[in-house]
């Protein structure tokens, strides 16, 4: 065999293996990129019967009655929004405070340990939170907290009416616990990227440590924290098991936070088994499709926020 042909063969063999391998990896990656679109398409197809039958009334009407085949998801959307807002308004300040405390105040070793513990909160399965919610949190709310709220603050609509332990408040609280690790760890990552010189500059001007945090840390990471909070919100919106177990599962709009409610994720988890009619199933899939679209938009938005922060 001539030298030339040998070289040509060798080169071709190498290229073939590499070619196959790179196309294989490319196919896997392309499949992953496509997966989102495929999921969206299948959900839309499953929801089509419901979409074409109810149209916009599906999101504007407030009666959800599977027996009569009337599906208005307004109470479910309301429940999702309110429970997530409760969660975010509790978790956001707490998480940022923890991130500040662990990153700026305590010695690094202690900060690392406590940070690890807080992050372990994220590793606990949702169903275990739900179990704890049913047997610990809800009874505690019913016997200790809600009687006081109802008695002393009952004149405010959000604390009026009968209380059961389970309900919007319980769901909001358990969600807040569940999203703390998300908001905390992103906030801490952002604080870590702030150069020490920026802290020293504030201290050198005579700022106290708290003033330094306000000026050099919080001031320069506003949009990053905003992104972290939105990511937490995205997680709260779609959280299923723990919420299903403590929210009381009643699809009605009530001003009171003590009343049972329903979220998009919890209605799906709750009714899938009893969804005997095709239209009921399709309505549940439409809820899923809406949840998919909403979390998609929220997360894309949050990522843009955080991206802008880490680039600058």
């Amino acid at each position: 065999m001539s030298n030339f042909r040998l070289r040509k063969r060798a080169r071709r063999e190498i290229h073939l293996g590499d070619l196959v391998f790179s196309y294989f990896l490319r196919a896997l990656s392309f499949g992953l990129a496509l997966l989102l679109a495929v999921i969206g398409f299948f959900l839309f197809r499953g929801a089509f019967a419901s979409i074409s039958r109810y149209g916009w009334s599906f999101v504007t009407e407030s009666v959800w009655d599977p027996v009569q085949e009337v599906f208005g998801s307004a109470p479910v959307l309301y429940g999702t929004l309110v429970s997530s807002l409760i969660a975010v308004s509790i978790a956001a300040p707490l998480s940022v405070a923890i991130a500040l405390f662990l990153n700026e105040v305590v010695p690094p070793k202690i900060g690392k340990t406590i940070g690890f513990l807080v992050e372990m909160l994220a590793a606990i399965p949702s169903v275990v939170y739900g179990l704890w919610g049913i047997f610990v949190l809800a009874p505690w709310l019913r016997t200790r907290i809600e009687p006081i709220l109802a008695q002393d603050l009952g004149w405010i609509p959000i604390f009026s009416g009968p209380y059961y332990g389970v309900g919007m408040l319980a769901a909001g609280l358990i969600l807040s616990i569940m999203i703390i690790p998300t908001v905390f760890s992103i906030s801490r990552e952002i604080f870590k990227t702030i150069p020490t010189a920026q802290r020293e500059a504030a201290l050198a001007l005579g700022a106290t440590r708290w003033e330094m945090m306000k000026i050099s840390i919080l001031g320069s990471s506003k949009s990053g924290i905003g992104g972290a909070i939105i990511l937490g919100l995205g997680r709260a919106l779609g959280e299923t098991m723990a919420v299903t177990m403590v929210i009381g599962n009643r699809a009605e709009i009530s001003a009171s936070l003590l009343a049972p409610a329903q979220t998009m994720a919890s209605v799906i988890a709750n009714e899938y088994a009893e969804a005997t009619s095709d239209i009921h199933l399709s309505a549940l899939i439409e809820i899923g499709f809406l949840l998919f679209v909403v979390t998609f938009i929220i997360n894309a938005f949050a990522r843009l926020f955080i991206l802008r922060e880490t680039k600058s």
């Binding site: 790179s22 992953l32 047997f135 990511l231 995205g234 779609g238 098991m241 899938y272 979390t295």
Partner: protein, 290 residues
Amino acid sequence: MNPAVLSQHMSQRYLRRKITHWIMMGVLALASGLALIPLLSLSAYVLTQGIPGLGINFFTHLPQPIGETGGGMANSILGTLTLVVLASLIGVPWGIGTGLYLSEYPPGRLSTAVRFSADLLASIPSIIIGLFVYTLIVIPMRRFSLIAGGVALGIIMIPTLARSTEELLRRVPVHVREAGLALGLPRWKVILRIVLLGNARAISTGIILSIARVAGETAPLLFTSFNNQYWQRGLGQPSSSLPVQIYTYAISPYEDWHQQAWTGALILVLLVFTMNILTRILLSPRGSSS
């Protein structure tokens, strides 16, 4: 203003700033303590409520019918193991393959799209993935099955594993790859044998973490692998799993089942925590230098 008054004014202001500082330190410390309360309460309850039900029966017996005491979650534990294996068969090659593409090949439009897609996919609620697999597999097959559950969990594994693999391999110095290429090895061998196997330890932590994540997933299993009070009868059949069984028992009105739910939760939490701590040990500097 004379100097004495001025300095008094200044020191008052300084005092006020000092007090604000200390109050805020207190608030921050309080917030950190507050966040740990649920973790402590939850751990305490899972331990104290779960341990009494722990026994050999829990791991070897099937659930008993309502009214009879005893019984265990043997079928649920087997179901969860089966689901995790099925999920890994899909999630591990796909996730790591994508991670390799992202880290080893020049960036382009595809890799940007894949990264964006993976991040979004990771934040899509897991119940949506379950619903997707329900319309994809369960409806055409006309029954719940382990396969469907495995596919759902596998899809959940892919994006996190892809991103963690990419992150880990980016830290591998370029000269390691160049050394392989200089020996005349084809690129695919360099990637598989040197880049991937050479960092098997780091990669395996990513795999363990993703398994820990899906092992506790409940929502996607509700309408894919469903539940079953007996041993599983094949991959095309519904099966119990630890999280779904905990859920079923927790919302039941029976005291005995609540007990079992706590014990199940204890097993699940121990499993997940062990895997998380294992990865920390594998990744610690002392561990990797050996």
